[in-house]
């Protein structure tokens, strides 16, 4: 589900649910939340890399798990996922996302919830929520912090999927590297950060947190409410039924 290994002062968390395309299920989110908590208080760790097993970084919500929920339960589940991802922005230690293959829906939200993002040219970045019938229920503040509100809105409208190259041009991703090097480059970046004076790195993260993550909680709460409204719409319900939900 989630494995941890260590390289020098860099801790590497690897999402390992390839059969669910590394989707953000309840169990995985709990494991991630617990792992961040442990790493934050581990003096042997100065930087964290979040990576994933093939085929791709993360496909967003676990549709199989959603199938057993009603709309209210799904909204609560998304709010809990949002809370765990928001907490990344308030850790003292920098978190690097190594995004290979694809980042879809909540997978995009999770990636931009990290402090630094490494990807490759052919990587598929896409938010399919609006085509499904609803506003994404969280992560829009982190998205706006990275690309500005106008480009964020364009990405959310999702009238076209984008490549890693375009994600990098938009500043959705910070580093563009060859496909095979995404994880090793993310770890190398983690090592460079780990080699810096820890208090200065932590102060830097803390100083910018109000600008980057300051409004994130209110933004997530509002998005979750609009998401709930949108889910009552006929198109959205048709999609949810396709997922297997009884709505």
């Amino acid at each position: 589900m989630l494995s941890r290994r260590q390289q020098g002062a860099v801790a590497i968390l690897t999402i390992d649910r390839p059969n669910r395309r590394n989707a953000l299920g309840t169990e995985l989110m709990q494991a991630l939340g617990a792992a961040f908590d442990v790493l934050e208080h581990d003096d042997g760790v100065a930087a964290i890399v979040v990576s994933a097993s093939a085929p791709g970084f993360c496909a967003g919500s676990d549709l199989k798990e959603l199938a057993a929920m009603d709309i209210a339960q799904m909204c609560r589940h998304e709010a809990e996922t949002a809370r765990i991802v928001r907490a990344i922005g308030f850790l003292e230690k920098p978190v690097v996302a190594a995004v290979s293959g694809f980042a879809l829906g909540g997978g995009v939200g999770f990636a931009v919830g990290c402090d630094l993002v490494v990807t490759h040219a052919e990587c598929r970045w896409h938010m399919p929520e609006v085509p499904n019938g609803w506003l994404p229920p969280w992560a829009l503040a982190s998205l706006s912090a990275r690309v500005g509100p106008v480009a964020a809105r364009r990405l959310v409208w999702a009238s076209e999927p984008i490549t890693g190259t375009e994600a990098h041009q938009l500043k959705l991703a910070d580093y563009l590297v060859p496909h095979g090097d995404v994880e090793s480059e993310a770890i190398a970046l983690g090592e460079r950060l780990a080699a810096l004076p820890r208090v200065a790195v932590a102060s830097t993260k803390r100083f910018f947190a109000p600008l980057i993550n300051g409004g994130a909680e209110a933004s997530d709460m509002l998005a979750n409410r609009i998401f709930a409204e949108n889910c009552q719409d006929a198109t959205a319900k048709a999609t949810l039924r396709k997922f297997g939900m009884r709505v």
Partner: protein, 246 residues
């Protein structure tokens, strides 16, 4: 002056004053407001494309028109134009600008007040207001939302004209096309948006509204006041007199 056409669920609004390079006077602004409100209320319309008939998108305020007005009248007209541009952001439906040829002054700001911007890579983008004597009197929040405050200020200083490619790099333009291709690309984009669930498209626009438009009304009031002050200075008066006499 203003043509409104339809293609399936897409409304195509065309500025059509080619003899004035599609510059805006009071009648055109009023016609735009009326058309936008009507299209927003029309359940058969899912997306709106705003374009200009050749030779270009829009040359901004019609200086020949404002050159004949008293200063208070000019300021009132510019405030009305600003109200119209903010309205683009407050509609429930997405509006896509299609820019060929040029987007100058108020035409530049009108284009980026739309939700999405398609431009040919050769189109000329320029804010010539400061060189002719005044601060751009409206729409600066739209500029800040797209490029940030520092780049927005630089664009207002107007030290250089941009082409579509430069505008794309800065984030002023979302999609670049070959010259002559902007309308097709804008209509295709509008078609993709029109095919998405209406409630979710509208919810997305509404969700980002506070960030995109947040202080736009106050900004417009402040810019209008600065504009009025600037217009009393000799450089601006010389410009207005020159155009008013034509």
């Amino acid at each position: 002056m203003l043509d409104v056409g339809r293609r399936d669920r897409i409304a195509i609004v065309s500025l059509n004053r080619p003899e004035r390079r599609n510059a805006m006077d009071r009648d055109l602004v009023a016609a735009l407001v009326q058309a936008l409100r009507r299209l927003d209320a029309d359940p058969g319309v899912a997306a709106i494309v705003l374009r200009g008939e050749a030779p270009g998108f829009c040359a901004g305020s019609d200086l020949k028109f404002i050159g004949r007005l008293a200063l208070e009248e000019i300021c009132r007209f510019e405030a009305e134009t600003g109200d119209m541009a903010r309205l683009l952001g407050f509609l429930g439906k997405p509006v896509i600008a299609s820019v060929e040829g040029f987007a100058l002054g108020g035409g530049f700001i009108l284009a980026i007040s739309c939700d999405l911007v398609v431009s040919s890579h050769s189109a000329r983008w320029h804010l010539p207001e400061v060189p002719i004597g005044w601060l751009t009197p409206w729409g600066l929040q739209a500029l800040v939302a797209r490029v940030g405050a520092v780049a927005a200020r630089k664009l207002c200083f107007a030290s250089e004209a941009l082409d579509g490619r430069d505008a794309g790099r800065l984030g002023l333009v979302d999609h670049l096309t070959e010259p002559g291709g902007a309308d097709d690309a804008a209509i295709a984009l509008a078609g993709r948006l029109a095919a998405l669930p209406v409630a979710a498209v509208s919810a997305t626009k509404r969700f980002f509204m506070p960030d995109v438009l947040n202080r736009s009304e106050v900004f417009d009031a402040q810019a209008n006041e600065a504009f009025a002050g600037n217009c009393r200075h000799p450089a601006a008066r010389a410009t207005l007199e020159r155009f008013g006499r034509r």
